[in-house]
Amino acid sequence: MTVATSVSPPKAGLHYRVSSVMGAEWIKMRSVRSTIWTLTAMTVITLGIAIIAGAVIPAQWHTFPASQRATFDPTSISLRGLLFGQLVIGVLGVMVMSAEYGTGTIRATLAAIPNRPLIVAAKAAVFAMVAAVAGQVLSFGAFFIAQALLSSPARHASLGQPGVLRAVVGSGLIIPVLGLFALGLATIIRYTAGAITAYVGTLLVLPITLDALPSSFSHPILNCLPLQIGDTMASVVSSPGSDWTLSPWAGFGVLCLYALAALVIGAWLMVRRDA
């Protein structure tokens, strides 16, 4: 039996490269069905909500009270489905990392690439690219579909109006950032169920819980949570009575800090812990 054509000589000077590690992460990501399924589910539901909004609102316009008609924000409405996108991209971000631990693949990964922060960085970079593309496809897709369907008497928006392009691009950009936050949480927690719980807790449960508390206490916190930041980003018409909220890009910066912090803590723990 021949095992190899020859015992290869030591490959002097050769070192694993960042591009190769990213290439490997890309193979991992595209070779499991969960990636395809989550991205498909995310697309169908986000665009589906835009279709429903665009179809239902003109028909129901006559039932809207005057105040609601005055503050009607066709951009924000069209991007509402991206909340579901935020949820699903988080699940995908978690799975990309937690599946390594859940299946034991992490040991094979670490045998090939012992540099742990590099693994986290490469995984995050590849995932962020996929999520960024998905985010823009969804936000522009949802926007155009809803605007095409929104007809008189309801108003519709166009990209040339002030703040609209920012709302569409920004809402799409939030998708990869929240996905990276989830990936970071999964690197810290390492278990799929735990990481998804932490992510959904931050994204949805915490805002609902805080809302029951006095607003002087809860609003400053709510304004720094992803739900409010996403809402501000998607809004063109500011809703009346909102006390201080972070500007769209300041809020986006806060989300970036969350993602960065989760990834850095995760990578630091990964170096310290046994796999």
């Binding site: 290869s8 490269r17 040991r107 012992p114």
Partner: protein, 321 residues
């Protein structure tokens, strides 16, 4: 070449590996033996890097694992069977590993064929049997054509044909000048495969040396003698300083006299012999004897006995080195 220098691993109150040192040299198959829970897998994980020792160090070809520039082309390992994403195909599992270390795609096909997995290469690994998972793990270890190979229980779950395949593979890898380190709790399997042995119990080194030393120096060597006049022969042997134990089927187990002497004694007395066979203790027996004290999980409580063979073997090792 793998050098393990005084590694220790503690989990809360339990010391899994305790100041363990040994060397694995190239060109031979080195078996790694120990009862369940003795720290074999922990040791292998500390060699490969996923687990860090609390003390001591491991060097592979003179450097730490994490300092190897292109790890898969220097070290290949099967640490656990089926540590594969169940949704990923065998091909893609190997392909991402290859890609990370700049190993050509053609090598993936090559090791799949070598492991007999080419027909299921595109099948999702979740549908694999344990044996197929082992084959995939072995294929992954061979991916970078490395000079150092570690296999943790590679024959687990394999059918007889698979076991034979692994046995021949390990031998041929060693014959090509590679360092081959393979753990097992199947002593009989090691007897057929390994040239060298490292035996541990409760995380400590019990013995290290060549397989021949291991079997030869262990207690329990005897000569089996069968004769129609077993009773007479028994007396004769005892008179000449031998020691006889009667086996249940009437054969005599003789110690203290060489086979030649027994043959001559019986010939001079006109006693026919139907069997005169020196019995080497099986590796299984030698191993049981060695690890009796350090077995973590006894099937039933038995009187602990002093480990005599351990000191015999380690001292002979010290004498040689």
């Amino acid at each position: 070449m793998i050098e393990v220098n005084g590694i220790t691993k503690r989990y809360q109150d339990k010391t899994a590996v305790d100041d363990l040192s040994f060397e694995i040299r190239p060109g031979q198959v080195t078996g790694f033996l120990g009862p369940n829970g003795s720290g074999k897998s922990t040791t292998m994980r500390m060699i490969m890097g996923p687990d860090a020792p609390d003390g001591g160090s491991v060097q592979i070809n003179g450097r730490r694992y994490r300092d190897i520039p292109l790890p898969l082309s220097e070290v290949g390992a099967l640490l656990e069977a089926k540590a594969i994403h169940p949704g990923r195909s065998a091909f893609n599992h190997l392909w991402f590993l290859a890609r990370s270390n700049d190993i050509p795609r053609s090598r993936v096909t090559e090791v799949l064929r070598l492991a007999g997995l080419e027909d299921v290469a595109k099948k999702r690994a979740g549908k694999f049997s344990l044996g197929m998972g082992q084959r995939l793990g072995i294929a992954a270890a061979l991916l970078g054509d490395p000079g150092v190979l570690l296999f943790d229980e590679p024959v687990n779950g394999l059918d007889p044909e698979g076991i034979l395949w692994v046995r021949n593979l390990l031998k041929s890898l060693a014959a090509e000048g590679r360092t081959v380190f393979v753990s097992s709790h199947l002593m009989s399997e090691m007897a057929l495969t390994a040239d060298q042995l490292v035996v541990i119990g409760r995380g400590r080194l019990i013995a290290a040396g060549s397989m021949d030393d291991f079997i030869g120096k262990s207690p329990g060597q005897f000569i089996r003698v069968r004769s129609p006049r077993a009773g007479d022969l028994n007396e004769l042997i005892v008179q000449h300083g031998g020691h006889v134990t009667e086996e249940p089927d009437g054969a005599l187990a003789v110690t203290g006299l060489p086979a030649s002497t027994i043959g001559e004694l019986s010939g001079r007395s006109g006693i026919f012999l139907h069997e005169l066979s020196p019995q080497a203790a099986s590796l299984e027996e030698a191993f049981m004897e060695l690890t009796r004290d350090s077995v973590e999980y006894h099937g039933s409580a038995g009187p602990a006995q002093l480990v005599t063979a351990a000191s015999a073997i380690t001292s002979s090792q010290e004498g040689r080195n």
